[in-house]
């Protein structure tokens, strides 16, 4: 199985990388070493320095991280739950309206599963040495964590136990 770094080297355009990673259904190494390898591959193509920070390149980096993290944290969900989380990661304002399609029990259980996966991802990110690779991973997952907080708020509104 190719590593995420190898996938990026072969598919450096964001849409191609996304398609390639999504085809794996979350079944890929995503430990600290794999994260560092992906980061090194990304920075070879999008070099960063203290005096030259290109916003487009930074956003590409966050996007790569999000593609991988989303595939990882949703890998054990049902197709309908995956679709829900994908939609709200894309548009957080849809959490309330889309959550109404689920019972509070299902949403609460799915959220717990996703948060457990995210905890694992965050632990692996903690192992990355301080520097630009870690910054892209932390920045990348921040949006996802904020959306999960929104979903937790929604579960509370529905009377569940997040």
């Amino acid at each position: 199985m190719p590593t995420l770094g190898e996938i990026f080297d072969r598919n450096p355009e964001p849409d191609a990388f996304r398609a390639s990673v999504e085809s794996l259904n979350g079944d890929f190494p995503f430990d600290t070493a794999a994260m560092i390898a992906l980061g090194e591959a990304y920075f070879r193509r999008h070099p960063d320095s203290s005096h030259d920070r290109d916003r487009a390149s930074v956003l590409i980096g966050y996007g790569l991280v999000r593609v991988c993290a989303v595939e990882r944290i949703l890998r054990n969900l049902s197709p309908s739950s995956r679709a829900f989380f994908r939609a709200v990661f894309k548009d957080p304002a849809k959490v309330g309206p889309l959550a109404e399609r689920f019972s509070k029990e299902i949403l609460s259980a799915d959220l717990a599963a996703v948060e457990a996966e995210m905890t694992g991802v965050r632990q692996e990110i903690e192992g990355i040495p301080k520097g630009p690779i870690k910054e892209r991973f932390v920045g990348g997952i921040s949006h996802l964590c904020t959306v999960l907080y929104l979903v937790r708020m929604q579960v509370k509104k529905m009377g569940g136990n997040p």
């Binding site: 920070r53 966050y62 910054e135 920045g139 949006h143 904020t146 929104l150």
Partner: protein, 124 residues
């Protein structure tokens, strides 16, 4: 919250701006967004927010600190919080007060803590 407090979110990542705004608006704040330090200072002067949440690394590595200093010059008492993926490192090495911030929240942000702080500020 009878009179929604105005919050300005300054971050060059649109996804972060959208998700943070969704959290804040779900608890009754009114949130505006700017995607750079420069645009953030202009929005600050135009909107006159009650609270500012600002990233550090945007068009420059220290764009957030530059923006905070300018906003402080205009309205010294407005709370300006740094939300950053290098927040902990910034706090350790420089100190948020020296950069013009009222406090630092490391990304991913602990929203239980942030909302508690903002709630107290909204009541004061």
């Amino acid at each position: 919250m009878a009179d929604p407090k105005k919050v300005l979110i300054i971050d060059d990542d649109p996804a972060i701006c959208d998700s943070v705004r969704a959290v804040l608006e779900s608890v009754g704040f009114h949130a505006d967004i700017a995607y750079s330090g420069k645009d953030g200072v202009a929005a600050f002067r135009r909107i006159k927010p009650d609270i500012v949440l600002c990233d550090m690394m945007m068009e420059d590595l220290d764009a957030g600190a530059k923006a905070a200093r300018l906003m402080r010059q205009d309205r010294p008492t407005v709370p300006i919080f740094l939300l950053s993926s290098i927040g902990d490192a910034t706090a350790e090495t420089v100190g948020f007060g020296n950069l013009g911030f009222s406090g630092i929240f490391q990304k991913p942000v602990n929203f239980d803590l942030l909302l508690a702080v903002m709630g107290r500020l909204a009541k004061s």
